[in-house]
């Protein structure tokens, strides 16, 4: 029996009029959304458009539609051949050095628990310094006249080659320097991944009689696969974008295009020779390349990724 109500001065209840949804959240979101629209999404589309035009950044000169001519121009240039080859070298060589090598190191650090504090702090050190600083420091260490490497080699009776002017060696030099920069951080990423593994799993395996190697192979490695994948992707992106800095400071792409990569190539096209069309097309090519790698990863590796319950 519902209580019968005596109306307090109004007739039948009115349905609510006016706004159903609050305005406030949109105000809070506005800066981010506007910025993303202007500086991320619109440029994304514009770049694709630009890859089909020819222009030299001169406001007095109009853009000319050239269709796919930019792409064919790039693919046919020797710069592209070198850049693409080098990019592949950077990426493929980075995998064992930056993605796989940190894993056993991380496992060891992880077993040290709190005793590994010092190691962890030192491993993080190169991350704090800019790549500029790192490049410059190694520029000195590798200096053919008085650098430390040269001097130590001399002391040992050998000779230290001029790694940065040798077309074949230069790229490996830069590769090793970038490994130096990043290996500590990647190791710590893996340590973080290991730290998030539920101890119960480890203990259960131990009770089942697992040896150290079994533990690694059947528990740690599978549960590290998400982290591994993450490190893999960031390493690939790193190998394309971040190596720009040492390339620019140490060799400027040379000698004889020995260290250039796709990104540096784009930089040269767009901002050195001001060939906007080539630059934009190059960017799209890089993106397609990354997309291809992602797809390959999804097809082959994603199936093996294991997540904890």
């Amino acid at each position: 029996m519902t209580a019968t109500a005596t109306p307090l001065g109004t007739a039948a209840p009115l349905p609510l009029r006016g706004r159903q949804w609050p305005l406030a959240p949109f105000l809070y979101l506005a800066p981010m959304i506007v910025l993303l629209a202007v500086f991320t999404y619109w440029p994304l589309l514009h770049t694709i458009y630009l890859s089909f035009v020819q222009w030299n950044m001169n406001p007095d000169q109009p853009m000319r539609w050239v269709g796919a001519a930019n792409y064919s121009g790039i693919f046919n240039s020797p710069l592209f051949d070198a850049a693409f080859r080098n990019t592949l070298i950077y990426i493929v060589a980075s995998i064992p050095l930056k993605v796989l090598l940190p894993i056993p190191i991380a496992i060891f650090v992880w077993t040290l628990a709190t005793r590994g504090q010092v190691y962890r702090a030192l491993l993080f050190l190169p991350t704090l310094f800019s790549f500029t600083v790192v490049a410059v420091v190694f520029l000195w260490l590798l200096n053919p006249i008085g650098g430390h490497f040269v001097q130590v080699a001399r002391l040992l009776g050998g000779q230290w080659p001029n790694v940065l002017t040798d077309p074949d060696l230069a790229i490996w030099t830069i590769l090793l320097i970038s490994t130096w920069k990043v290996i500590g951080f990647n190791t710590l990423l893996y340590v973080a991944g290991l730290a998030s593994i539920n101890r119960d799993y480890v203990e259960a395996m131990r009770l089942d009689g697992a040896s150290d190697w079994s533990l690694v192979r059947h528990l740690l490695w599978p549960l590290l696969t998400p982290t591994t994948l993450f490190v893999l992707i960031s390493t690939v992106i790193f190998a394309i974008q971040q190596v720009f800095t040492p390339i620019d400071i140490m060799t400027e792409g040379g000698p004889q295009n020995g260290t250039t990569n796709l990104f540096y190539m784009v930089y040269q096209y767009a901002f050195r020779t001001f060939n906007v069309g080539f630059g934009a097309a190059g960017t799209v090519i890089i993106f397609a390349f990354l997309l291809a790698i992602t797809l390959i990863k999804m097809r082959t590796l994603d199936r093996h990724v294991q997540y904890q319950q």
Partner: protein
């Protein structure tokens, strides 16, 4: 202090109707309890009253103001949350005084009022602590303290005792009752625990599927449930609901089936059944199989079976029976409820009268009458 009125309050979430046409008057100073199972709409109704949920339709009156469209902070209502919602980065004193400071009350005035409220709640010594340093019971007190210090026109409680252990719940329950009576503030209290509802409420609203099933004083609802849902929900243990086909087994006269409106279900209170040997006054006789005895000391719960139907009896003290026995029982006819095909209770005084007359033993009419 103010009275509250709900007029046709409703809430739709997309296609789901959470609250249907809630209309009710709550006089100033009353402790009203909304009780019902999960999903019945009681919390949604409370949140609409608080201003945390916008109604789809209807009006809410607090005193002279219609507040259904007002933002929560303009309503002058205080709320105690299920998980207390104490600000973790503030001390107890800051938690309690937060609303006052936001309203611009001067520091010393805030401190004075906080101290007074804290002493009323017995937490005066905890004012400098952080919430994480407090026990569950203490946090609950702080949450209540935060509400009372504001001197609002109404208190809202959203299942504030559900996170406390059983013992604490009982003492906290009594405290809230005493507090409300002392302060005299109109209070709306939501719980799924019908024992809490029965003990706290001046009046109780039983809800189900977004609708009000029954409104009334707890004992009235207990004695005369409006329908089978309320009958099965209220009471611990709840009413036994049996089909009318068992009326003969229960010792009831055949006329029941033909008298007045159609009876479909019979409600039997567990405490109205006793062992025949111990209560000669109870006129209705029946026998049932005993399946299980729960001996609680002060009383015993007998899980019986009447043919294929379960029956629960509540008898005082300890009884010497064992599972498997066939028991001779006696039942009090005046405490029976009858429900029609639609589940609604049949309020038929003729029925009751004839029940009384058909038996030889005199039936003592309960004081509440029909």
């Amino acid at each position: 202090m103010a009275s509250i009125s709900f007029r046709g309050l409703a809430k739709h979430f997309g296609g789901v109707v959470a609250v249907k046409d809630f209309t009710l008057d709550v006089p100033d100073g009353e402790l009203l309890v909304l009780v019902g199972p999960s999903g019945c709409g009681k919390t949604t109704t409370l949140r609409m009253l608080a201003g945390l949920e916008a109604p789809t339709a209807g009006e809410i009156w607090l005193g002279e103001r219609e507040i259904a469209r007002l933002p929560a902070r303009e309503r002058n209502i205080a709320m105690v949350f299920q998980n207390y919602a104490l600000y973790p980065h503030m001390s107890v004193a800051e938690n309690v005084g937060f609303a006052l400071r936001l309203a611009g009350v001067k520091r010393d005035e805030v401190a004075r009022r906080v101290l007074k409220a804290a002493e009323m709640m017995g937490i005066g010594g905890l004012l400098e602590r952080r919430p994480r340093e407090l026990s569950g019971g203490q946090r609950q007190r702080v949450a209540v303290c935060r509400a009372i210090v504001r001197d609002p026109q109404a208190f809202l409680f959203d299942e504030p005792l559900s996170n406390l252990d059983a013992k604490l719940r009982m003492s906290a329950r009594a405290e809230i009752r005493r507090l409300q009576q002392r302060l005299g503030v109109t209070t709306v209290y939501v719980t799924h625990d019908q024992v809490e509802a029965m003990t706290l409420a001046d009046r109780m609203v039983v809800m189900h599927d977004g609708c009000i099933q029954q409104v009334g004083r707890p004992l009235d609802i207990y004695a005369r449930p409006a329908n089978t849902f309320v009958a099965g929900f209220i009471g611990s243990p709840p009413l036994n609901l049996l089909p009318v086909s068992l009326s003969a087994t229960l010792g009831l006269p055949q006329q029941l089936l033909t008298m007045g409106s159609e009876v479909a279900t019979i409600g039997v209170r567990p405490e109205s059944i006793s062992l025949r040997a111990s209560d000669l006054r109870r006129p209705l006789h029946l026998t049932a199989q005993l399946e299980l005895v729960e001996a609680l000391g002060a009383e015993s719960l007998l899980h019986l079976r009447l043919g294929e139907w379960p029956l629960l009896a509540r008898v005082p003290g300890t009884v010497s029976v064992s599972a498997g026995d066939t028991l001779a029982l006696a039942m009090d006819g005046s405490a029976l409820c009858f429900f029609g095909n639609d589940g609604q209770r049949i309020d038929d005084s003729d029925l009751q009268l004839s029940l009384a007359q058909t038996h030889n033993a005199s039936v003592v009419r309960p004081a509440t009458g029909n």
